[in-house]
Symmetry: C2
Subunit: 241 residues, 2 copies
């Protein structure tokens, strides 16, 4: 930003924005929910045919956050419940041409994704080049995108530990078991239901409703997210959008 060089030689450097979009597939089914993310099949030369993170070029009149949202919207047609910058990747050899990628990571509500995917399947207009993959079973991706996903996973797991962010993956109303199972899917280990309940209750991030989900067993209380909390953990940076 200090412009020491009179004629900046940056013509050959382009800025891209990508996103690691997390959601949960197979919630409320018998099996365990699985952390998943959408990938885009490349249709042009560098790594043609390989899967890659959704992304695009940064427009000159577009904020970084807006570009990340646009990328996300173009891929999933959905609004994220959480969006945060991950890292700027800028190694010279990460692409045949010089590209600096500012990567974001996001959380999507599972019900919206499920509905979207089901609607596309029914209408037969599923975007041909977008596919959801389980985060634990990714193929070899284009560019350095495998490393990027690894880093995003690390951040997500970290954040799930000290913050109550997992509800960003759940519908408007959900049970504590839902929230616990999603957290378990992220962390990759089982959690004590009793202790999990108390930790969540003490965090004041959830508001109990008077509705219950009935099923095979004792009905479970439904909770909803408390929007007054979420912030204050990201420091003095303004929330995106």
């Amino acid at each position: 930003m200090t412009q020491t060089t009179p004629t900046p030689p940056t013509d050959e450097i382009r800025v891209a924005v990508s996103a690691v979009i997390f959601s949960v597939r197979g919630l409320s089914e018998s099996a365990c929910p699985v952390l998943a993310l959408p990938l885009v099949r490349r249709t042009r030369d560098p790594f043609e045919g390989r899967w890659a993170l959704p992304g695009g070029w940064l427009n000159a009149a577009e904020n970084l956050d807006a570009a990340a949202s646009r990328t996300l919207e173009e891929t999933t047609a959905l609004a994220p419940t959480y969006l945060e910058q991950l890292y700027a990747f800028g190694a010279v050899d990460r692409s045949p041409t010089r590209v600096v990628s500012v990567v974001y990571w996001a959380l999507l509500r599972s019900d919206e994704v499920d509905a979207q995917v089901a609607a596309h399947a029914a209408a037969g207009d599923a975007p041909e080049n977008v596919e959801w993959f389980a985060a634990s079973e990714l193929p070899a991706l284009a560019f350095d995108h495998n490393e990027i996903v690894d880093y995003a996973l690390w951040r997500l797991r970290n954040k799930v530990g000290y913050s109550r962010i997992a509800n960003g993956l759940l519908p408007e109303q959900f049970t504590l078991a839902d929230l616990r199972e999603v957290t378990e899917a992220i962390l990759g280990r089982r959690l004590d239901p009793a202790n999990f309940r108390r930790q969540v209750e003490n965090s004041n991030t959830l508001i109990p409703t008077d509705r219950f989900r009935t099923g095979n067993h004792r009905p479970a209380r439904l909770y909803r997210y408390n929007r007054d909390v979420e912030l204050a953990e990201r420091g003095p940076l303004i929330a995106p959008r």
Copy 2:
């Protein structure tokens, strides 16, 4: 990174790299040490005369990390003990022209900085446009650099809490009181010497030497940094350089 646009319209976007460089001034003096950082006075139009973070344009054949190191070297002629990417700032209106700044933050050993500054003062070749400021008494900076420094301070304070990073500001050998005073300067509050000692000892980041610093009171043991630890806290990203 997915190059959906055939002809990317990125010609007007330039990539800059800046650095928030922290060091400690006034260590081993009677008063409390003060967290300080170098600023550069702008000599051209946007915000001419105002102080700004050291930085420069990213070269086409240069990694982001390398550009940060270069920036740092040009400002201080010193090698950092710690260097980490802070954030990519890319709001459209943060500069008259469209600039995406990838900002790093770094720690410098206080003794090296003191020696450097003293040498320049003696030789009379002090760089006219670089000056060290106390982090708590910054003037109004160019661009969005005040916000950037605030965010870097937040990250530094955070990291000091859960990691043993403060020794990156200290000379090769130092006492526990040195380390505690630096930590106090960063956090802005006093710490219990007894508890601080135990926390540091249990963290295994320090190696006791058999040397002592003698002074007005009981001699204090000198410690040095244990280089085997430091990493593993930054996730799967490779260390810079």
